[in-house]
Symmetry: C2
Subunit: 437 residues, 2 copies
Amino acid sequence: MTEHKRSVGTEIGRPAEELIATAAAVKTASRQLALAPTDVKNRALLRIAAELRARASDILAANAHDCASAIRTAQQTGKDPLLDRLTLTEGRLENMARDTEAVAALQDPVGEEIERTVRPNGLIVTRRRVPLGVVGVVYESRPNVTSDVAVLCIKTGNGVLLRGGSDALETNTVVVSVIRDGLAAASLPPDAVALVGSSDRGLVEQLLGLREYLDVIIPRGGEGLIRFVIDHAKVPVIETGAGVCHTYVDRRADPGMALEVTYNAKVRRPTICNALDTLLVHRDLAPSWLPVMAARWVDAGVEIHADRSAAAILGTARIPHRAAVNDDWGREFLALVAAVKVVESLDEALQHIERHGSGHSEAIVTDDEVAARRFVAEVDAAAVYVNASTQFTDGGEFGLGAEVGISTQKMHARGPMGLRELTTYKWVVLGSGQTRP
Amino acid sequence: MTEHKRSVGTEIGRPAEELIATAAAVKTASRQLALAPTDVKNRALLRIAAELRARASDILAANAHDCASAIRTAQQTGKDPLLDRLTLTEGRLENMARDTEAVAALQDPVGEEIERTVRPNGLIVTRRRVPLGVVGVVYESRPNVTSDVAVLCIKTGNGVLLRGGSDALETNTVVVSVIRDGLAAASLPPDAVALVGSSDRGLVEQLLGLREYLDVIIPRGGEGLIRFVIDHAKVPVIETGAGVCHTYVDRRADPGMALEVTYNAKVRRPTICNALDTLLVHRDLAPSWLPVMAARWVDAGVEIHADRSAAAILGTARIPHRAAVNDDWGREFLALVAAVKVVESLDEALQHIERHGSGHSEAIVTDDEVAARRFVAEVDAAAVYVNASTQFTDGGEFGLGAEVGISTQKMHARGPMGLRELTTYKWVVLGSGQTRP
């Protein structure tokens, strides 16, 4: 979030007025895009995919500039330039093009009639799915987010105002110009997708207040960014973010299954939000099972932070570990680190999750149907698992086809958000002269 | 909103800590309420209805105190005490009891399985409807909102933290104690419903920031209150509010139907958000139709603010009117006042609505199917009508059974919100040891 803490001051003209003019242009264009038939939107998407490939050298050259600047800045400031996230390769660019084609192939939710009732007075009351309008997306370095988000918004008939990381400005500028050209080639208004180039922090705050032009803001990035957006937004926000995920291995878990599920939940990709942070093990199973599990984790490079009971078991088995500190509970490690706690009961596990979970993804491993049913009913999280790895929390894995992000709030959308979550509805009421008594 | 502009300063103790303790108690209780079976929740509701009747004299006595204080304050400050909104009568109390019984009779949305898919790897991915958690409601004088909102929240398994107007504090205190007793009588946790008694403005701001305890805030009241909530909330808000509603009478409208619909949209209840504010008339129809319409309105006491073309027609017909000023377009009158404009075309009507509407309720009167289809597609509002009065925008009229409010935002819920709009969903994933490749 450091990018929000400096005011670059390289603006010329009046950036606030330019921002408003840009947002107004997106809104006007979004009204046209909202009415576009599915095949026209798909034509634009396929053109964008083709142009991402055709203009690969331009995009990669711009990205090379961005990376070089990031390295220079890093040398001056001694800060990690997050180069991996910033860097585009031919392979990553090809993925951006393929993802765009995949979205073109998905079903368009816009226009769907959700509900229809005929009232006693003859009024036909229907709900129809329509685009949200204009979506603001505030994100960090990764330039693939630019095409991901723009493509999902185009498919759902939404305008989008993008505010990417200033590190990736040159890359994003070229990618957005490719997208706008693709829209124009399909006779759709290019202004439906726009990039806010400035890295002026005050301008980002102003963007978050543009209630007249934006219908929703989606922040994508680290905790600092999300906090900043929540604190400053006047436009409704769909919060995405931190996952403090637990896996509870019940006294009646199948030990072999518990090993596979727990290993996968931590090790498959430790740096994503649905990765295991804390393992809770029932005390009846812990003495026999935990040393086997921990040894596997340690082989995979996992650092274990154990509570007193777990430490006693691991100590006896001579498995390397550290003593857990209070801050380990409820911490999202995003690394090969796991906290481990031995619990007395399902109730203790539920209480621990209630206190320390972030409402993202939580799992129980058990053969006891009663325990499974209680866990599912009582855990308040976007995704609750029985006998499966929390790493499945993902739009693709849940069958949504694409993912805009994973919501950690309860309003509008919860968990993985697909195309439908970029829409709202409109009540359409068809009458024949009805008046209300 | 004047109540938010003063800091009463009569607090003793540490109100901020008391607020947090209250919110924490609501959250804990809400977890239990979320798991309550429908029949238990209904038993509580029926008990509440019975107690509202049994304790009528207590409630009316408290209300008499509130009204007396409001009159004293009004004498001191010269301000309108909004006595009508504050006053409870036996009839109004009986309505509160009946509304409570009606909600008990509605279907419980909680627990409904919205979706179920079996993935190729055998994972069963379902979405289940669950309560939002804790709903914060910030409202003004009307004490019936207290029972309305609490009852809807109980039915949907939500805890609720109520912050009513300080004018109605004694009344609300008794009503909330009746509701809590009803919960206790059904063995449900009374703390699921709590009232924030303080009128300290800083405390309201703090309530709006209680992200740890509240899942959503619903403001109910005037524009000032809603603005205050949006400006200060860190918790997600469902905005309810202003309706600037247009009725467009097309060149191909049935003149008789247009008279009925337009008359009803303004006159039936002029003080509610779905009442007509601006009438747009196609120029082909205006010379013959507008004088008849305007004469009816004038007979009903409607004050007409006419644009130049409308004024010319009304002047010739000697129908009383004023010249419209710029501020009349986009103004919510909430009174027997209507702005009238003659438009050249459907396009001009659509542009006018886009510019001045508030996205609430908009109507076209026409026999032209093409015009109707364009109007429905292009007008961006919660409710769009063809050949019917905008006064139908209401949860009951749309078949929702009850209404929490009318949302004017696009996220989560749009237009009338019923019980379902007080819920969210949880992804429940049932596996047999699946790990993600």
